[in-house]
């Protein structure tokens, strides 16, 4: 009989095996949590402790002793952190919207239409990944300078969008392929115009897809240092990454303020991670790969 050897040699009971597996799983989980959390913990620790407490005695004290907002106070009163954050939020927000809109339109077009040059478009999008973005700095600067757009939100938004769009398009393209065309057809049959169908059916159904794309665009834009450096040249226009890198040079600014400003930069990503991860997962489940 084919399967007579089943179960041979199993001395450990099913329950026991389950236990061993659980222990393994939890150990991995804990190790990874430590790996991920420690840097974040340290950031929180430093942000909310006076530096002389953290660094006293030549050791970094890992146990919080007090709670202080002194570092933030310092940031907010002596630097343009608020202004930088505002700039960051403006360009990140507009880049997110722009990149996602382009991705939704292009993704929809690539899935729903057949036309000559479609595969060329798709390939161009893919190959644009392969050009090192740092080389774009000079041509883009020239471009924006010529167009008189330097030092504007518009130019920075455009540059950031340039970096995030290819992947976002790819994500949407894949995502739309999982949405059955019959959903749209069903709306047409019921008398809905094309535009109405897009509004009532396509967009709501594609939501996880475009939220993933938006999160990705967010990560790119919020992350950015190079492009902001290329495009922005006045203090009032710097984003928080550039701004922080400027004032962190200062004599009087130490690790504590560094961590405090890092903490501020972490708030939007944290909110996104907290509230939108489900969409991200859904979006990636189809968009990420196929």
């Amino acid at each position: 009989m084919a399967t007579s050897s089943k179960g041979a040699g199993s001395i450990v009971s099913q329950k026991r095996q389950q236990q061993i597996k659980r222990v393994g799983v939890y150990t991995t989980a804990i190790l990874v949590s430590i790996f991920v959390t420690i840097p974040v913990y340290i950031m929180l620790l430093l942000s909310f402790q006076p530096p002389e407490v953290v660094f006293s005695g030549g050791q970094v004290n890992l146990i919080p002793q007090t709670l202080t907002f002194q570092n933030f106070n310092e940031l907010l009163t002596t630097t343009k952190t608020v202004r930088y954050m505002t700039n960051s939020i403006i360009v990140t927000g507009s880049s997110m919207v722009l990149s996602t809109s382009i991705a939704v339109m292009a993704g929809y077009g690539l899935t729903r239409f057949d036309f000559r040059g479609k595969s060329l478009t798709a390939r161009a999008v893919l190959f644009s990944y392969m050009f090192s973005p740092i080389v774009l700095a000079i041509p883009l600067y020239v471009l924006f300078y010529t167009a008189g757009l330097l030092n504007s939100y518009f130019a920075l938004t455009l540059s950031l969008t340039a970096i995030s769009t290819p992947f976002a398009i790819w994500l949407m393209w894949q995502y739309f392929q999982t949405i059955p065309i019959s959903l749209e057809e069903s709306a047409w049959v019921r008398g809905a115009s094309r535009w109405r169908t897009v509004r009532d059916v396509v967009l709501p159904v594609a939501r996880p897809g475009y939220i993933s794309a938006a999160i990705f665009s967010f990560a790119v834009a919020w992350n950015d240092f190079t492009m902001a450096r290329v495009v922005m040249s006045s203090d009032n226009m710097y984003t928080i990454t550039v701004g922080a890198s400027l004032f962190l040079d200062r004599v009087s600014v130490g690790w504590s303020e560094t961590m405090a400003v890092s903490f501020l930069m972490c708030i939007p990503p944290f909110l996104i991670a907290l509230f939108l991860q489900n969409y991200l997962l859904q979006g990636f489940s189809v968009g990420g790969l196929e």
Partner: protein, 303 residues
Amino acid sequence: MSMETRTAHSRRFFGGRRFLLLVCFLPLVIFFTVVWVLPILYALNMSLFSNPTQEAVFVGLANYTELLSSPGFWTFLWNSVVYALSTTILSLLVGLGLALVVNQRIKGRSILRTMMIFPYLLPTLVVIFLWKFILDPNVGILNQVLVDAGLIAQPIGFFSSLKWAMAGVVVTSVWKFGSFSFFILLARLQAIDPDLYERARVEGATTWQAFRDITFPHLKGAILIILLVRGIWMFNKFDIIFLSTNGGPLKATTTLPIRVYQLAFNEVNFGAATALAGIMFFLLAVVATVYFRVFNPSEEVGA
């Protein structure tokens, strides 16, 4: 039979098709031309000149040949490959391990998930702050812990010793980018029909056999895509290395993108810098083309 063809045909007679097509692609085409095509052409054009921004002299491919024959090129290429491969593979492994864990029904999995996505969204600058602080030989927690535990006699300058610099940069990168693979793989794992595992158990498969014969084949396409996309991105990654080691010590972490930067801004040789970028582009395009031919990752998953 493809849905696209079906609708494409059926819509030929519908009003508005052309218009909708235009709406879908016009922004893309304009945008793409402005922010990618023009700059890239401009850059590639620069690579054919010496001193292209001031007294430009056309030199043809001289910049390219010069770069390829310079001894440093192969070192930097090697560094790039080491960096790109090790970060990609490690972040894949970390992502895979954790995705497998989170895919189990355990308590706190959603917290784990939140924790994992978080680093990916952080600005590189912040990531560097955090890791510099951890790996720093002076204030660094890691050194402090290792010294206190008696594992090392004196603090190690992780970003500044030949032995550790690449490792330091890689760990930092993996910390940030591990979650990219994690999310893609987790999504993929969750799409696997749990009945497949039950069927395998009934058929007598061990846990390992089930992983080999079910989990792995399902993840294969995703893994190939991650290797490709992440690999390209890491090969082109600039900021994380620049901010942590700036290519040092002694070129130990100088990758091609770092070198491009140095050529452009330290040595003010835009011709060579853009030529090097062109070489990188060419290398990646070749690798990607071969990769697509051999593995066809999109088909892998599509099935």
